[in-house]
Amino acid sequence: MPRNLDVKKVLVIGSGPIVIGQAAEFDYSGTQACEAIKEEGVEVVLVNSNPATIMTDAGLAHYTYIEPLTIEFLEKIIAKERPDSVIAGMGGQTGLNLSCELHDRGILAKYNVNVIGTSIASIKEGEDRESFKKLMERINEPIVESVIVNDIETGVKFATEAGYPVVVRPAYTLGGTGGGLADNEQELRETLALGLQLSRVGQALVERSIKGYKEIEFEVIRDSAGNCIAVCSMENIDPVGVHTGDSIVVAPAQTLADKEYQMLRTSAIKILDEIKIEGGCNVQFALEPNSFEYAVIEINPRVSRSSALASKATGYPIARVAAKIALGFTLDEILNKVTGKTYAFFEPVLDYVVLKIPKWPFDKFQSAKRTLGTKMMATGEIMAIGNSLEHAIMKGVRSLEVKQHNLDHKGSKDKTIEELKRLARVPEDERLFHISEMLRRNYRMEKICEITGMDSFFLHKIKNIVDWEEELKEIGFKGLTPELLRFYKENGFSDEGMAGLLNVSAKDIFNKRREWNIHPVYKMVDTCAGTFAAESSYYYSTYDTDCEVALNDKRKVLVIGSGPIRIGQGIEFDYCSVHCVTSLKELGVETIIINNNPETVSTDFDTADKLYFEPLTEEDVYEVILKEKPDGVILQFGGQTAIKLANFLSESNINIYGTKPKQIDIAEDREKFDELLESIGVLRPKGKGVWSTDEGMKVADELDFPLLVRPSYVLGGQGMEITVDKDELRSYLDNAFKNDSKNPVLIDRYLGGRELEVDAICDGENVLVPGIMEHLEKAGIHSGDSISIYPPQNVSDAMKAKILEVTEKVAKALEVAGMVNIQFIEFENELYVIEVNPRSSRTVPYISKVTGVPIINLATRAMLGEKLKDMGYGVGLYPEAKMVSVKVPVFSTEKLPQVEAMLGPEMRSTGEVLGLGKDFKEALYKGFVASGSYIPKSGGIILATIRKREQENFVPLAKRFAAMGCKFMATSGTAATLRAHGIEVEEVKKLAEGVPNILDIIRSGVIDLVIDIPSKSNDIASDAFKIRRGAIESKVDFVTSLDTAAALADVMESGLVIEDLDVYTINEVVGTLR
């Protein structure tokens, strides 16, 4: 069927801020969908609250709105733009839910908007538990039977019919406490009795257990004519029970014979046919390992994280094809852009193995409970491609950036076999290494299969690697032969990984390889296992014989990507990498990108001229350089992952565009940097790097408390804290040196002033500052977690001039070529520099959008030698926009049990939203709405628990809230202070004071907002920590900074209501007419 010509203007809804479970994959799929729709001459209206995305770039869609993803704002946009259609399945669960709600509230009907692609009715049938169950029964597909019970007998009756074992999941208990597996009636009676008692509503789910079943996923696409294909099968190495987002996944499925494969494929297609999906859909199966018995776990009638992975694993662009289907095309009419010859109605075949490993944030959140379960905790993932599973595992492990280049893991070595057994039994992030260690100690493999539920096929592969590692230790460096070395390389061993086992340096291994001419070749990911000549240039390395890379004499530049999404290094860097590639292409330069993150736009097959899907280690990057011989490498846009390579590449005489490694080192080395600032007369908070606790205590005497302490060479403020007295300092230092004695700890005087930030471009002569950002919260809160305002609202012109002057001085002194990010504190009318990052930063995407300055484009050109003066955006401070934008951070702490949620110098947010308005208040209001923050209303109940020294500061704020009709509850100290100032307050008990205490009150649901200003973070035993976690788990909003609370009061006082607010396209925001 040809395109539906009634579709002229389509609304695409994005997925909003990056949170755990909804990350960059939806920028990738949304961007691809927008492009696919635009190609057909259809107009695209895009809305997403997340400014760090490629999709929200002016020009990607025809009309781009960075507005809150709520029904009210969507209706405003629909009323303004009058799209004739909306596509529901491109913005993750957020987009899907919003589309359904727009439909349910009659908004789509009111404005005559049709849903294209999978219909709302189909979506609901797939999403709603009850109707899905009915559907599955209708078409005779097995599901995991379950029942919701309020009494024990109903549960027992169900279990007798469904068969034991069953799982009990009490409703509304924190972290699933009280649930468990019951093997027989007696156990069920016990577990259920406890579960019902613990549940707030006396309710529990009893479900047939599918523990130990294999978890298999299919990515399936169906068109309006009913044509249907399975794009990819995926097998989770972790059996059912671990969220697929937290599982190590292999594609294609490895342990299924054709009969089982076809059985599940047929089932998936049958389901899509019955629901009448028109687009992509993910179907998850549980397969009993010893029979043909299976159950459909769930379906996702939309593009998803899995579909992004499947797209990258196969080369098949699922989102693009799904968008074309929504426009009316059938699969046999849509060309496969990868081959340029075949059509989208075709099931990709793979002649390689793909492995996905999740990237978890536990390095940032030391206190977090690391047990993996049905709730996803990973922030990102890496993908590795190899021609054997061992090969892919070894590539995958080193891609994770966990300082691990083989399976020989120090953290596992230190453990007893009993500890390892315990760790293997309960899935957690380092299980792969623990299992390896067990195999290394000759623990019986079959028993590990039993303990973990993993298939022996996978354990054999891990065992192979472990055996080879042990053999390598025996062989020794001197014993290496060309054949042996080639064998290890073929199986994915890195130079560094081998060197670690042989006690030599990676360079030694590399030299041997060079001597024996052992280098990788590059194979193409082409959807068709080489059976058609493909037009794509998507490569991965192997140590085979035949290299498929076609080289040419064009000027070419290699751009290093930023790897997996993690806290502190998110989608913003992918935005930068992609823009760098686009800019280079415009300059006529051939672009090459290396990255290992399957969720991103940068790893889309047609972003760069050539994509190398490889680990971002020195060796893997260097081999690509040897192959391609680019004119130079760009590191500035790949976050710390890329910057880390600077010294190595420079020592290897590789040309690095932009700021040179020597200067990067100065910016990151405390003493050198201090010297530099002093020489140019720039202030910074006094401080020093120390190497021991004693030295630190001495330094503390010279400086005044409070002191900011942090380890050197870090990203995202890892391990940074403000200490207010000697005890706190001593305990911090003791702990820091225990963890890492090889690097100094930096101690700075903490200045509680206004924090300001710029991203600037320097061409060696001139500097352009696109905009100054002002942080709403006082210094001390990580810049990534602060609310950030542009243009600044409280900065004098003199101070702005000063900022420019200092920026110019620093940029020139550091010989910056390209990007630099500088953070300042304005304290008692002086400007202090607190941090300089000679690279792109996480604020670049948003500030590019609101200033209209294409920062990455200018920086890229500056790096290649162009002058700012010739680029049309001037030099110095770029004129401020008239509209105000407020960036608000978004956290995923509810997804991570036992994680600290208080704002501080350590970054904790996973994403951000932007509020855009005519003035500060409108922007702030939208920012809060977009981030899902609670804005107090008259009659709202605020629970306050404020540390002693801030209580007096809180009083004026409390008066403002009280004046607007808010009521207070507080613990004794805070309550006394408030009462002393005539503010009415109800006192609540502290945790130790009996029941009902503050936590019970939070959990009871009467509280609207918690204002919690604690004295210390990260102490999981403290009341304050429990209060914050209690608030998170009871879904009660809370703030931990008085500045944030004051901003809420501002918004409340402004009296703004949603009805009064306008929506603006990004072009309107920067003031250019479209």
């Binding site: 075709f346 599973l389 054999h460 032969t481 080489g530 085979d544 035949d546």
Partner: protein, 363 residues
């Protein structure tokens, strides 16, 4: 220990060669010569090995790990593997699947098939893609160019049908229509699929005459898939031609080519054929498209006026199905029985419906 010994060499007709490691049934003195074919199936290697259509071939798998789930005796498509050699990137020594009864290595040993691993199978596939189907030799010796040439010229697959067809007629009982199945190398799953439909099947050796077949008084004729080039099958083609005028005839795979030839269609060799479980075909009648399992090196390229193409390949637009304008005769190029690959069972229903229609008219 790692660093397996490269002990055999694959030499292609165009002179290119690959070293690799032998496994399975390996006799150092024995050179293996045959036609190379690649197979893209992600699963279903066992079904492919035991498909009689691959008799005499050297099969290169594009999927890099072969043997992961082992082999069993349920999924066999004939009594044994008839390949001459199997070429894989890596073989799996430790298969895992609840039905697994043999390892790949053991299976090949038992079936006297040479295995070859540890070579760049993608490079090999790409060579075949560029050069088309080629013969190849696997040897341990240092053969001269002349020796190789001589071996290639001696190697033919002309008499393959004789090797793989039933030795004598046999009957599979059923309550429905009576089919005479001409066994050109039939797969077990075809018989099972027809059985599931309730058909009574009389299986005839490929070289049975039309008279012998008609004597059984079947309701219709079924030409199975199989191996070989229809140019070498004049007798069978003639039989098919004669049967087509008297009875409804349904055909799949090689049988479809035999039927097409019998009906006057032009059959041409393909550059490298269709081998795998992911070939898209589209019905020219309904417009609906299907993913199919295929294994053929020749294809119908032209039809006389009374023959209508019914299906085409979505990618290369080649003819995937035909029927006669007036006679009850039709065929499809692919393997509707799947195994390996997806089944398109409705094809069997369509065939049986066609036969039933004829029966109602002629009863």
């Amino acid at each position: 220990m790692g660093g397996k010994n490269i002990n055999i060499r694959l030499i292609l007709e165009n002179g290119q060669s690959f070293g690799g490691c032998a496994f399975g049934y390996f006799k150092e003195e024995e050179d293996i010569v045959g036609e190379m074919v690649f197979n893209t199936g992600l699963t279903g290697y066992q079904e492919a090995f035991t498909d009689p259509a691959y008799a005499g071939k050297l099969m290169c798998m594009t999927t890099p790990l072969i043997g992961s789930y082992g082999l069993n005796f349920e999924d066999m498509q004939s009594d044994k593997a008839r390949l001459k050699a199997l070429i894989v990137r890596h073989k799996s020594d430790y298969p895992s699947n609840w039905r697994c009864e043999m390892t790949l290595d053991g299976f090949l040993k038992q079936n006297k098939v040479l295995g070859m691993e540890e070579l760049d199978t993608r490079a090999l596939t790409r060579i075949m893609r560029e050069n088309g189907t080629m013969k190849a030799i696997i040897t341990t010796k240092d053969l001269s160019a002349d020796e190789i040439k001589a071996k290639f010229s001696k190697c033919t697959n002309e008499n393959i049908t004789k090797e793989i067809t039933a030795k004598e007629k046999y009957i599979i009982e059923g309550k429905g229509l009576h089919l005479a199945l001409l066994d050109l190398g039939v797969k077990t799953s075809v018989l099972k699929a027809l059985q599931r439909k309730g058909a009574k099947i009389t299986v005839f050796p490929a070289f049975s005459t039309a008279a012998e077949i008609l004597e059984a008084n079947p309701d219709g004729i079924f030409l199975s898939g199989g191996a070989g080039n229809v140019d070498n099958m004049a007798a069978i083609v003639n039989t098919a031609a004669e049967l087509a005028t008297k009875k409804p005839v349904a055909a799949i795979g090689l049988g479809h080519l035999v039927l097409a030839k019998a009906l006057g269609c032009t059959i041409s060799p393909m550059k490298f054929g269709h081998h795998g479980g992911n070939y898209p075909v589209k019905s020219l009648e309904s417009g609906k498209a299907y993913i199919t399992s295929q294994g053929h090196d020749y294809v119908v390229t032209d039809c006389p006026a009374d023959i209508i193409p019914t299906y085409i390949n979505v990618n290369d637009k080649s003819i995937e199905g035909i029927k006669h304008k007036t006679l009850h005769v039709s065929g499809v190029q692919w393997a509707p029985e799947g195994n390996p690959g997806p089944e398109t069972e409705f094809i069997f229903d369509d065939f049986l419906k066609m036969i039933e229609e004829w029966r109602l008219v002629h009863a």
